[in-house]
Amino acid sequence: MIPERDSMARPVHSVTRRVPLSALFTLILSVVCLLHTPAVRAQEPPYFVTYSQVLEEPGNLEVAIKGLTASPKDANAFFSPTLELEYGATAWWTTEIYLQGQATQNDSTIFTGFRWENRFRVLPIEHWINPVLYVEYEDVNGADKSILEVTGHDSISDLQTKNAEGRADIDHTIEGKIILSSNAKGWNFSENYIAEKNMMGGAWEFGYAVGASRPLALVASGRSCLFCRQNFSAGAELYGGLATVHDFGLRDTSHYAGPTLNFNLPHGPTLGFSPQFGLNDNSAGVLWRVKVSYEVQQFRDLFRGKESR
């Protein structure tokens, strides 16, 4: 059953009483930026959901805030920020923590949970297709609206649940992905196959994500410049659910597609933007995604003695 848009159910001051998560995340990001460590020109493709073969460089720490906002049909508008801390443990292993929350208009602002993911590069050298294994543990409640992936029968009705109801439903989930990715003539092509299982019960759920992208220039300029084409990369991604092990397919699933754009500020953060459009009635109309990421180069060197530098 789809709840009606509820603008009067909860007084507005209940939203303002809580500390906005976005403010907290911004504060953490600012502190990290104050470390005076130069940022690197990120080499990651501009995807929001799709993973490519690119891992974090060993020793680097990427701090990112991903924001998603939408006004789904028959539901209140919401904003969902996700803080992402990605660390390159080795050249073949990247580990990442996500902290998630959301603020829904006429409802409340809540913390929705965390994820811990690990990505492992399988083959030692580059091939036509490069596989990466992905393993994740999620402790996320039912009010989560980050849509970091779509699996099973995820649909617009999940976005229509009130926060008080959703947060009581806590999922402990393991998720695996096979990431296949290729680089050819400046283009990146990536495909992800997703399998997810709630350890509290329920069937295995499946999903997919595919993306293609390219920097706007393949040759770097000999002078430092802000708006050079080499600092931009553009692409598109498509993702959605593939139901469960019992009813594998596209029936009663949601799907999204949209263009993506990244802007790498030289010696500064990377900005990303993507409007993503729901492709069927089970999907929200438009998801507006933004991302700000900052890479602290050789973060681990900050903890080494000066004499060894």
Binding site: Q43, G222, Q298, R309
Partner: protein, 140 residues
Amino acid sequence: MKKNSISVFILLIASALLMASDGSWLRRVPEGDRKRTNPYAGQAEAAAAGKILFMDNCAKCHGDDARGRHNRPSLRSERIEHATDGELAWILRNGNTWKGMPSWSSLPEPERWQIIAYLRSLPPDSATATTATRQGDERP
């Protein structure tokens, strides 16, 4: 027992991180790659672009002067001096993941060649040492 296993695992990871490059990757470069030539060789503009790319992507590990930092190898060593452009292009594309060097395949290939053009524009340490020795000899 469990604690021991964890310690061994951590030690293995740490030693993998700390191991300096020994140049064994050079033996793995296919002959076809070894013979590739840099389309930007000797071009000052490409070297200038390569310098910007190097500072953005490589300097934090290999140092602003490319002489290496924290056990990470110098790129002005004799080994790099004698490596072909094709061999350097191969290591940039594939990395040496077990020794800590990531793959830079997502940098467009022309940009990787520009980095190599920049590295070639740097005087190798052997040349610097020779110059220093000569200057020392000239001293009264």
